[in-house]
């Protein structure tokens, strides 16, 4: 029973402890074993936490027995229980995949370091999600960011270094802005505990510093979550990073940043007057829409599938932010569901593309000609995930898009519903580019007979299957997300 009581701490501590262990062991197989055990344990803990929250409501855990608001509080409610399961789940699926995947993409003496950085990144992301302390968020943000810079730089392509450096600069600016915002809030209220912050902020009379804090935090987080037009670091980072890293980060890193944004907006700033003064919602709405349109359009004209799907990520983040801007149960539900659905689909796409690169020798549209005949399952998997990105019924993406449209209709904004649907057509266009290359061309003659190992194919297809299953049986995800949305908007 005592272990159960400490689950919130273990959620972070287990992967954190695994990191130095992998360095000490140095042998890559041992390091892989440790990382695998850590990530699967993290998933078990996340699921247990989620079940507890579903059954009994919010969990609060005082680190070192220092009661909040003085000590650091780990606070698990319906929203971050959901995010924890998503992050830990994707890590648990990507890690087995990475073993064979980095074989070709990372030089072998660095393999154990890959696992070190992977578990550290996981630690940071889980920590950002679970902690109820504003400064603690910043600490974990830095842990996850620094490790992801390293992970991206591990890519063999020399451009990976530039991409990593670009991300480092942008990410550091973002983190700095974030911490300045948190500092302002601390000055105003004298507390760092999120729940406490929310209560005290409502009592602050002078809105100007609150506005400054809001602005710093919004811009800082927007950089981290790659909100258009602060997305420039993302396409290169995803395209040149090792595939396993792209898969993991695309499904989790931006998602956790979105979570933090939702958390701060709805749990901290919700009662402050800041939103009444600055039209934050409209700003997010416009940026989200712009992102969906602009990034989808850019994606259509990419010749490399990794970059194509990276721009697609920027567009999909646009939808998520759009849902946040609606400030309604359906809108938030759409955003939270889309965190998961897009995470699943996009991680699956990048994992499948890893296999494609292995067999076809690249992921440009020219190289994947005839993929549908050479690699039928991989190809079909990419198509299915693509359909989920478009939001076709029967896939997970439909569930979120449906709620997004409903939220727009609820506000009586017909034009918005049409714009959302219209942007989906752009998504259909970039997915179609892949379909045309893969199915309506003769297979290339210069392809070797390499095969994708099972350890890469299975995890990827598992995620593809999940995209479909959650599209047809949406109730678990949907109920969980809706409960989170209701809680966030809760009784005032």
């Amino acid at each position: 029973m005592s272990v159960m009581a400490h689950l919130p701490a273990l959620q972070v501590v287990v992967p954190l402890m695994a990191a130095p262990l992998t360095v000490l062991l140095r042998r890559r197989d041992l390091a892989f074993g440790v990382a695998l055990v850590a990530s699967w344990t993290a998933l078990v803990i996340a699921v247990l936490l989620w079940l507890q929250v579903e059954a009994g409501g919010t969990l609060s855990y005082a680190i070192g027995n220092w009661p909040p608001p003085w000590g650091i509080e780990y606070r698990v409610d319906r929203l971050n229980a959901f995010v924890l399961v998503l992050v830990a789940g994707l890590a648990a699926v990507v890690l087995p995949y990475s073993r064979a995947s980095i074989e070709a993409e990372v030089s072998s003496e660095q393999h154990y370091l890959f696992y070190t950085m992977f578990v550290l990144c996981l630690t940071g992301l889980l920590g950002m999600a679970i902690t109820g302390d504003a400064f603690n968020i910043f600490v974990f943000l830095e842990i996850s960011s620094l490790s992801s810079y390293v992970l991206i730089a591990l890519g063999r392509d020399r451009r990976a270094l530039v991409a990593s450096y670009q991300y480092l600069i942008m990410g550091t600016i973002g983190a700095t802005f974030f911490v300045i915002g948190i500092g302002l809030l601390y000055l105003l209220t004298g507390t760092l505990n999120l729940a406490d912050l929310g209560r005290r902020l409502a009592l602050v009379d002078n809105p100007r510093p609150v506005l400054a804090a809001l602005a710093f935090i919004t811009v800082g987080l927007s950089l981290k979550l790659a909100l258009f037009p602060l997305h420039q670091w993302l396409p290169n980072a995803y395209a040149y990073a090792p595939t396993a890293v792209a898969a993991f980060l695309s499904g989790t890193a931006t998602k956790v940043a979105v979570y933090v944004l939702i958390r701060l907006y709805y749990s901290v700033f919700s009662d402050a007057q800041a939103f009444a003064i600055v039209p934050t919602e409209q700003m997010l709405l416009i940026l989200g829409l712009l992102g969906a349109f602009a990034a989808s359009t850019i994606a259509i004209f990419q010749s490399d599938l990794k970059r194509l799907f990276a721009y697609s990520s920027v567009a999909q983040i646009g939808y998520i932010v759009l849902g946040i801007s609606f400030h309604s149960v359906n809108g938030l539900t759409a955003s939270i569901v889309h965190l998961a659905m897009h995470g699943l689909a996009k991680a699956a796409v990048f994992m499948l593309l890893g296999g494609v690169a292995l067999v076809m020798g690249g992921t440009t549209l020219a190289r994947v000609q005839g993929l549908g005949y050479r690699m039928p399952f991989t190809s079909l998997g990419i198509v299915i995930c693509g359909l989920s990105l478009v939001g076709v019924p029967g896939t997970g993406g439909f569930i979120s898009k449906w709620h997004l449209i409903l939220a727009a209709l609820e506000r009586g904004q017909w034009w918005l519903a049409f714009l959302i649907v219209g942007s989906s057509l752009l998504a259909a266009a970039y997915v179609w580019r892949f379909i045309e290359a893969a199915y309506f061309n003769e297979p290339r003659k210069d392809i070797g007979d390499a095969r994708v190992p099972w350890s890469m194919a299975l995890p990827a297809l598992l995620l593809v299957a999940a995209s479909v299953v959650f599209g047809l049986y949406s109730s678990v995800v949907l109920e969980s997300a809706r409960a989170a949305a209701v809680m966030l908007l809760g009784p005032r």
Binding site: G394, I399, I405, L409, A417, V421, L425, G471
Partner: protein
């Protein structure tokens, strides 16, 4: 026990299993073609087993998934869907026979892919026919669009791909841009998208809302080829003739008008649309459909390419169905349903004939057809019969559907409809009869004896197929009981 619910599942599963078997036997063309025929035959039997239940008043239902509350993937067989499934599965057998003759006669490549996609298209068509709500229909409709793309672009040439792009972008574009928002809105307003006798929107929307939603729905169904979203149909004629025949005379275009009728009857509700509060919100549709009928006929009049002429004739004939449904008179709706059947058998015959002419003589233009009836009497005889059906003359099925449409229009005192039908009948005669006249009564151009190679009829499977469909056109005139009974059931007479 083979319940009708199981029948619904089987109707979609049989073509899928058939496709798998064709894939497995791709290296044995004879066996593969036999499997195509067998699959088609089994499908028809399956559909026929459901028929007596529906005629007896049962509405077998099969619910598969609940995607969202009030949004199910479920299937229900009602009279209209029953009729559509009967037509599509019945004509698929004939078409398979014809395809085998055509594909072998012309030595086409990728034959296995062709038969597999055809089979999958039929599975999607069954899905459209049996869908129990608009959501399921929308899904099956999109699958049908996608799965027919490889068939349209079968030749693999740049021209075929250009045609395929137009095909895909028109059909996908209209359905996603118009029908999908309409679907969401219907669910938003009514809380369901189930096809319900009498409709689900009574009292939910005012005049303007109804009219706007109807606009979205009607233009959203691009497969009904209402102008100005008709251009995909001529573009799709780059497909091999069997594809044009089954898909663009029966499955795809009929899925379009079928959806139109379903939406008007089961979503909006005829009485609701004609009712006092929102009366007149469907009037615009009569005008647009009437315009399409006339305009497409005029274009057909000037088209020299035979398949192009048939394509524009199809656009015109499809709008008959739309207009008849929009007249909102019980008799005209019976006419609409009958016309789905009558036009299917008639137009497939015409396409079969065009393909037979191409296979036997490689002629594609109307102006080349002088005297061809002497070399291919059966083909051109069948063509003449089907042309009569298009014009609406006895003894062909088209007469019955036009009769009901005219009666309905007169009963509803919709004089615009009456005029459109009368004028278009003249136009139909104007572009079909000259072909028949040329074929039988103009002597073949005897100048270039060297490139006029002697030929007779096309390969026998093709001739047999078009003979069968021409016979069906006449039979449907003398024995219209089953479709009529289904049509009456649908509107509750």
């Amino acid at each position: 026990m083979f319940t009708p619910e199981l029948g619904i599942l089987a109707a979609m599963a049989v073509p899928l299993i058939g496709a798998l078997l064709m894939w497995a036997t791709s290296r044995m063309p004879d066996l593969r073609d036999a499997i195509t025929l067998a699959t088609a035959a089994v499908l028809l039997v399956v559909v026929l087993t459901i028929l007596p239940h529906v005629l007896a008043g049962a509405r077998p239902t099969l619910a598969l998934f609940t995607v969202l509350p009030g949004l199910q993937i479920s299937f229900t067989v009602e009279p209209l869907g029953m009729l559509f499934a009967l037509i599509a599965s019945g004509l698929w057998i004939v078409n398979s026979l014809y395809s085998i003759g055509y594909m072998r006669g012309n030595g086409e490549r990728h034959q296995t892919r062709f038969y597999i996609c055809f089979s999958l298209a039929l599975a999607a068509t069954m899905g459209v026919a049996f869908s129990g709500n608009l959501f399921t229909l929308f899904l099956a409709y999109e699958v049908l669009t996608l799965i027919t793309y490889p068939l349209v672009t079968h030749a693999g040439t740049d021209k075929a791909r250009a045609g395929g792009r137009i095909y895909l972008s028109y059909l996908m574009g209209t359905s996603v841009a118009f029908l999908l928002p309409a679907l969401v809105f219907i669910w938003f307003v009514a809380g369901t998208t189930d096809f319900t006798p009498g409709g689900i929107l009574q009292g939910k929307l005012g005049h303007n809302g109804t009219a706007a939603l109807l606009v979205l729905c009607m233009f959203g169904v691009g497969k009904a080829a209402l102008m100005p979203f008709h251009r995909w149909l001529p573009a799709a004629m780059v497909a091999p003739t069997p594809v044009s025949a089954l898909l663009h005379a029966v499955a795809v275009v009929k899925a379009g008008v079928f959806t139109v009728v379903k939406i008007i009857v089961y979503i909006f509700g005829v009485d609701n649309l004609a009712g006092s509060g929102i009366g007149g919100s469907a009037d615009w549709l009569v005008v647009v459909a009437g315009f399409t009928i006339i305009a497409a006929s005029v274009v057909a009049l000037g088209a020299d390419n035979l398949k192009r002429r048939l394509a524009y004739s199809t656009i015109s004939q499809l709008s008959y169905v739309v207009m008849a449904a929009a007249l909102l008179a019980p008799l005209s709706i019976i006419g609409a349903v009958m016309h789905i059947a009558a036009h299917a058998v008639g137009k497939i015959t015409l396409f079969f004939a065009a393909g037979a002419i191409y296979t036997a003589s490689h002629k594609t233009e109307v102006s080349q057809l002088d005297g061809i009836g002497r070399r291919m009497p059966i083909t051109m005889g069948a063509f003449a019969l089907a042309a009569l059906s298009m014009i609406g003359l006895p003894p062909a099925a088209g007469f019955i559907s036009k009769w009901y449409m005219l009666s309905g229009a007169m009963a509803a005192q919709q004089w615009l409809g009456v005029v459109v039908i009368a004028v278009s009948t003249l136009l139909n005669a104007g572009y079909f009869l000259p072909i028949v006249y040329r074929a039988f009564f103009v002597a073949p151009a005897a100048v270039q004896g060297h490139d006029e190679h002697p030929h007779g009829e096309a390969p026998w499977p093709m001739v047999l197929a078009l003979g069968l469909t021409a016979t069906a056109t006449v039979l449907l005139f003398f024995l219209p009981d089953v479709p009529l009974a289904l049509a009456r059931q649908m509107i509750g007479l």
